[in-house]
């Protein structure tokens, strides 16, 4: 097993030890799912086919959102707080002298975390939703495969965005403000509150082009069968494009950060 695979496994295992937190999280996601599902039902009763979804698709969208909420780390967290703290305290010095790539290391660890969260926190709310609501499920196994692939790329995009937030700590020495702004932006532009395709005009068009839509909107649309054929490939390429651009930006910024900025203390 390669180093980064081992790091991913340890990320998975680490999060799997917090059992009470997992149970509490499942409960929270389920309650929020219920509240949002009934809100969406009221909304789609008034405006059927809003954003091109029928009511069943809209409710399905809610439960996909709850299943992916923590997986794509909408509100940040995971490696983010840990690495910011390491930069602030100066412990990042240890990460830097190791013969391992800082970004690849934390990406691997975050992928491990996301894999655990998809399984540990995603399945139960989705089953709950499927049990009590009429959901639109993928028609073919292949759709499931593309959905999982899309979620995986979504996690990478989410990581790349959060990594940029973390790097700001090299200059600001405190990631609190940027983390909050980033969390709000992610909440809105990922489509977690409302699907991006219900936003009208320019706002909607821009929102759908921003990287955050790769976190939830794109995977959800693949799940719901909105994208098919070449549209599906285009959707995946859109996500992958953002992943590459953002990871690359993070890399460049990381090089500047480690060269220019004093490693704190000690």
């Amino acid at each position: 097993m390669s180093l980064y695979a081992a790091v991913a496994v340890s990320g998975f295992r680490r999060h799997s030890t917090y059992r009470v937190a997992t149970a509490a999280g499942i409960f929270t996601n389920t309650v929020f799912g219920l509240i949002m599902a009934y809100t969406y039902i009221a909304l789609w009763d008034q405006r059927p086919h809003l954003g091109g979804y029928d009511q069943s698709m809209a409710i399905t969208y809610v439960w996909i959102g709850q299943a992916l909420f923590i997986t794509v780390a909408v509100l940040g967290g995971g490696f983010q707080d840990e690495l910011i703290e390491r930069i602030r305290s100066g412990d990042v010095a240890i990460d830097l002298y190791r013969p391992a790539d800082l970004q690849a290391w934390w990406l691997a660890s975050d992928l491990g975390r996301a894999a655990f969260h998809l399984i540990g926190r995603g399945i139960v709310p989705m089953l709950f939703g499927a049990l009590f609501f009429d959901l639109t499920m993928p028609g073919t196994p292949l759709t499931w495969v593309f959905f999982i692939l899309s979620v995986a790329i979504g996690v990478v995009v989410s990581f790349a965005l959060r990594y940029l937030v973390v790097l700001s700590a090299f200059w600001l020495m405190d990631g609190g403000g940027v983390t909050t702004i980033s969390g709000l932006a992610t909440m809105f532009f990922s489509g977690m509150l409302l699907p991006l395709n219900v936003f009208p005009g320019t706002l909607g068009e821009v929102a759908r082009l921003l990287p955050w839509s790769a976190l939830l909107q794109v995977p959800a649309d693949i799940f719901l069968g909105v994208h098919t054929g070449s549209g599906l490939l285009k959707a995946l390429a859109f996500q992958a494009g953002w992943a590459v651009v953002l990871l690359g930006t993070g890399r460049a910024l990381q090089a500047v950060a480690t060269r220019k900025v004093v490693v704190q203390g000690g």
Partner: protein
């Protein structure tokens, strides 16, 4: 050039520090953390690198690992320019920070070591031999399955030292490896470091505030203050250079007038107890013999000079000369 494993030639590190000066105005000020340091450490030597807080020790270590880029001068470790080839160098050096851990908080020691093995691509047989050796000498057998967060400071420190040695580094940097440890743990760590140095011929650079570390481990000591190398030589000569003094605390049976002895002066008297000061370079034995012959002595102890005092005195002197 000589065949030094660590070579510094006029190395400098200047930081820009911004300071508030008024409501909105910020003043830029340059701090020379390391100000033209040159030294060479040959292969297999164990060197103490000491100085007060903020002297530039950690900055030097960070430059030697490649985390910080020198602002000037030339720096080589095993022939490698650290900041240019940090990753290549990392495979050949080991670093232990007393105040930080290189282990993973949530993982048992064994899992941390497995990550280290993969990171440094340590061959299986080397890994087994090295781990076994560390486990044996650092007494880690019962700790391997314990998550790092549950280890005591002394246990964690031993775990950290093992982690730094699994990949057979040529150079080991130790940044205050005994800080906060109890006497037993300190002794264990020192014993292990001595064996690593003498048996494996590993080159060791050790920073510490504990003079005993240096006395027991290093034949050579370098003193840095205000970013400059104040002294580079043997420990005994350091005391002579720093005019450092030891103190003999004597409890007599009864109150006595201040005793007068050749080679010592009485610094303080408090009832039957007296403090006699003598040069650190000379032995306490003749003094004690002389005292016991002349007066009824109940108890004695010798206080070693504090390294900070030695350095402070040295610094005061050198700035007087300059």
């Amino acid at each position: 050039m000589s065949d030094g494993l660590i070579e510094l030639d006029g190395v400098e590190k200047v930081f820009d520090v911004r300071r508030r000066a008024g409501l909105l105005r910020r003043e830029r000020r340059q701090v020379r953390a390391v100000d033209g340091i040159s030294f060479t450490v040959p292969r297999g030597e164990m060197v103490g690198y000491i100085g007060p807080n903020g002297a530039g020790k950690s900055t030097t270590i960070k430059m030697l690992t490649g985390i910080l880029t020198p602002s000037g001068g030339r720096l080589r470790v095993a022939g490698i320019d650290p900041s240019r080839e940090r990753t290549r160098l990392a495979r050949r050096i080991g670093v232990v920070f007393g105040q930080r851990t290189t282990l993973w908080w949530d993982l048992p020691l064994r899992d941390s070591y497995q990550l280290v093995r993969r990171m440094y691509r340590i061959p299986d047989d080397r890994y087994r031999v090295n781990l076994e050796r560390c486990v044996e000498l650092l007494d880690l057998r019962d700790l391997l399955e314990v998550p790092v967060r549950q280890l005591s400071l002394g246990q964690r420190m031993r775990g950290d030292i093992a982690a730094a040695l699994l990949h057979d580094p040529e150079v080991l940097y130790l940044d205050e490896p005994t800080i906060g440890l109890d006497v037993v743990s300190k002794a264990k760590v020192r014993e292990f470091l001595r064996s690593v140095n003498t048996e494996q011929g590993m080159t060791v650079l050790l920073t510490t505030h504990d003079l005993t570390d240096i006395e027991q481990l290093c034949s050579r000591v370098m003193v840095i203050d205000h970013g400059r190398l104040m002294y580079d030589g043997g420990l005994a000569e350091l005391h002579a250079v720093g005019e450092s003094e030891r103190t003999l605390v004597v409890d007599f049976e009864r109150e006595l007038p201040p005793v007068e002895l050749p080679g010592a002066r009485c610094e303080r008297v408090d009832g039957p107890r007296q403090w006699l000061v003598f040069p650190a370079g000379s032995s306490a034995a003749p003094l004690v013999a002389e005292l016991a012959a002349r007066h009824p002595v109940v108890d004695l102890s010798v206080r070693e000079p504090v390294i900070e005092d030695v350095i402070a005195r040295m610094y005061a002197e050198s700035s007087a000369v300059v």
